[in-house]
């Protein structure tokens, strides 16, 4: 895993400042969706676990306190993109 993460708010910071929640689910039912929506199961439990690029929710707890979407490669350990998750969500990317 990358040793340094370019936080969009704080700049290059050591990975120890962050906590990782896990991969961003492929989809998540809308708020208020019926409880028998089959998407709930996959949103909570299923992850594709790809070899290579993946997107994860990271929390910069020892920095700006923002949730981030880190796109990284679990093979090469390269970090491709780090974005503010709320900004992404407001732009319609809510998973």
């Amino acid at each position: 895993m990358a040793s340094l993460i370019p936080c969009p708010h704080c700049g290059m910071r050591p990975k120890e400042e962050f906590t990782i929640r896990g991969a961003v689910p492929d989809s998540r039912p809308a708020w208020g969706a019926p409880i028998d929506d089959p998407q709930w199961f996959s949103a909570v439990y299923l992850r594709t676990n790809p070899r290579g690029r993946l997107r994860e929710h990271w929390y910069h707890g020892a920095g700006c306190g923002r949730w981030l979407i880190v796109e990284r490669d679990n093979l090469s350990h390269a970090v491709h993109d780090v974005a503010d998750a709320r900004a992404r969500a407001l732009a319609g990317d809510r998973t």
Binding site: W31, V44, G61, V79
Partner: protein, 982 residues
Amino acid sequence: MSSRRLPEGGLIDRSRPIDFTFDGHKLSGFAGDTLASALLANGRRLVGRSFKYHRPRGILTAGSAEPNALVTVGTGGRREPNVRATMAELHEGMVAESQNRWPSLRFDLGAVNQLFSPFLAAGFYYKTFMWPAALWEKLYEPLIRRAAGLGKATYERDPDRFEKRWAHCDLLVIGAGPAGLTAALTAARSGARVVLVDEQSLPGGSLLGERESVDDMAASDWARQVADELDTMPNVRVLPRTTAFGWYDSNLFGALERVQKHRAEIDAALPVERLWRIAARRAVLASGAEERPLVFGGNDRPGIMIAGAMRTYLNRYAVAPGRKVAIFTNGDAAYRTARDLQARGVEVAAVIDSRPAVSGASAATRTIHGGLVTRSFGGQGLKGIEILGNGKYERIGVDALAMSGGYTPIINLACQRGGRPIWNEGLQAFLAPENEGLAMAGSAAGIYGLADCLRDGIGKAQAALGELGIKPARFDPPKTTEEAGTGFKALWHVGESRAKAFVDFQNDVTVSDLGLAVREGYGHIEHAKRYTTTGMATDQGKLSNLNAIGIVAEARGKSPAEIGTTTFRPFYTPVSFGAIVGANREKHFQPVRKSPLHGWAEANGAVFVEAGLWYRSAWFPRNGETHWRQSADREAANVRTNVGVCDVSTLGKIEIFGPDAPEFLNRVYCNGFAKLPVGKARYGLMLREDGFIYDDGTTSRLAEDHYFMTTTTAQAAGVMTHLEFCAQILWPELDVRFASVTDQWAQMAIAGPKSRAVIAELVDRDISNDAFPFLAAADLTVLGTLPARLFGISFSGELAYELAVPARSGKRVADAVMEAGAKHGIMPYGTEALSVLRIEKGHVTHSEINGTVVPDDLGMGRMASQAKDYVGRAMLGREALRAENRMQLVGLRPAGADRLIRAGSHLLERHAPPSTENDQGHITSACYSPALGHHIALALLRRGHARHGEEIRVWDGLRGEEFPVLVCEPAFVDPRNEKLHA
């Protein structure tokens, strides 16, 4: 023993003699010596015993790859085993001891192992300690453990400090040899931020041990001049005595600086070692190359040394290796050793060159081309060698032998991130692959000539600067004198040898061990390594790995390219635990959190308990109480009859603001919060997305758009993170903000039938039951002017309040509470009594909310709203979470005579034998109840809600306890909540 010190020369300071001891003998050296050079100067050739066979061993190298000369240095808590004598700088009063010998270095009983060596070959442990299995633990493990390890670590506390630091640079240069120095100087003069690390005490690397000149001055003087220039530049940090040990993602390097290991007196203001994390935009690895030993019979006898190391001892430390020296080589480099020895008046008896014909290198002495050294003679030091030349064996007397088996470029760091080394047929060595951000320079890149190395450093630095967009300064390579050639022909081992020929000196691995490994099917290099342990000692095979690969390749009839290498991993050289731990030891192991009321509790005689990072007051002994139960029982009973005060400041506290705060809270709690009026508090249950309970607590509405949330102590940070996740990712359209204020408020619970009378004296408003009922919440002032918050909240089940005041006023207000309560019999109570009170009332904590329970399991099923969506709602609807045979919260009381009930015990039906199938649940919390006069417990019991009144059994297999209990409802005290509204 006669001195081997030459009358003049060397980079030692003869005006500063240094006294030290080795195995109790008083010896002396000079400033600038290493322990190894000082031992050699004192004529000490035998310095250690080998690991397996306890063979006598001497000093093989002059650097960090040393496999033999491992000693224990220091006394008391500073005693450090397995120090390489070649890296230990001599200091006044140094106490050094040899290792792995008993009773003494010269007479070592362990050497008897050599007689059994036919049985101690590779795979010995695997074959011998297989059966019978009954002996594994009793006999084999103690035996193996006793034989394992070299020096013995101290059990005493390390008195010294260690620290960690970050550094950032444009260019990190690793190694201050010829290539490293020109690389660093090029980048420094170009204005780049440069860090230069080098493991030696002086800059120069190989230049320190050679007689070449650079820019018309002695090479070591040139190195000093460059280092001096670097030292004056503000954009450069030079770190001597610093080993880069690891290369990590994001071009991050780990390096260990030995700040004070070379000092006689330790300055307590400084660390002894400093662990650097260096974030480098680009790096140049100019780590040099190791000269390999030659593998022939008896190649480990003290007096046999690497040829380049012999030059270093001669030129840098002014130590003659012997009176009469022979040189065994397969390349041109060792001819320099012959030349330098003769220049210092040491007799060179012969150069034995394994190559039939040589061009370019010659020695002014007898030279045997196509010759081999087949064995060595002598007891604990070399007396002679056997030579095979022109088909004839010959024996000559020498007391030192230099050997040169070709160079191994030091590529370790460049291969630590998964890159595989690439075999170079011309160099007969592995080179590093192309890496992003890290360039190889000098002999680490397989460039062996001095002028070429100086030029390569400049080129690699300029290329790196170019990638960074920094304009490189012009820098002409320094002039050098003509030097020896670099011709060489691989000789992996001398097949004509009969005696033990060592490949890995430290782990006593011989050529025949490797042959055995191949014959027994362990020919893959990773298997051969583990089967024979070659390369697995503390030196990690720096000298031996390539020879081992060559020997395995020959045995399998393949090329070293097909054999490949084993895997390079950090650390390059051993790193002390102290440096890795840094400042995080003892009381600094983790932060200590103290409540704002800590001092108040201390003044009231509290006994503290560690709860995570917090120190919480657990009980307050009074009147000669000697057992915590005496105090806790008194404190709990006093709350039920009078009034008590408890520090609850450790609860997580979060301010929530924003017009959408009501909607937000309504979504994160499973119970309704949308209609909570201003001035009211409410208990809330927070679920995880999978439907299980995450945390509980109270949230109070202080204004239309302002709430104050409390969480459990344990989940304070987790809940904050969860709220941020919900607000930022799930519902970014909601206008809501949070601030963690756990440390800003001192909060105390004042509980008991007389609590209202106590509070009424302190606050500025009416708190009668009508004006301020249970679950009321208000901003108010206490002690006349102090802003405070009062909540009608009870964890004990009694009439109770929680009072929050700014942290700095906590002690003052707590003292005032005690004073106001004096006439009502107020007593402080700690977490033990707090726990008793909440168990009596059937309130849950994380003992019950253990990640497997849903609201209905705790009897709170009706709290989960049917009228709204909330986090966890969908998954909570799953069939299994609504099944009637779930583990459900119940109370337990003794069915017969009272007895201690222990949390963690399992529950069984009355006559069912203990088994996993029959398990009915377990006890989550238990205590003695002063209110009831007997022990009680809370438990998660299968179908518990329907089993009130049933007799079941408690089963504790660890203690062999088994007894009947009665299932009851979890609230033992005031189940109808009448006290809360008194």
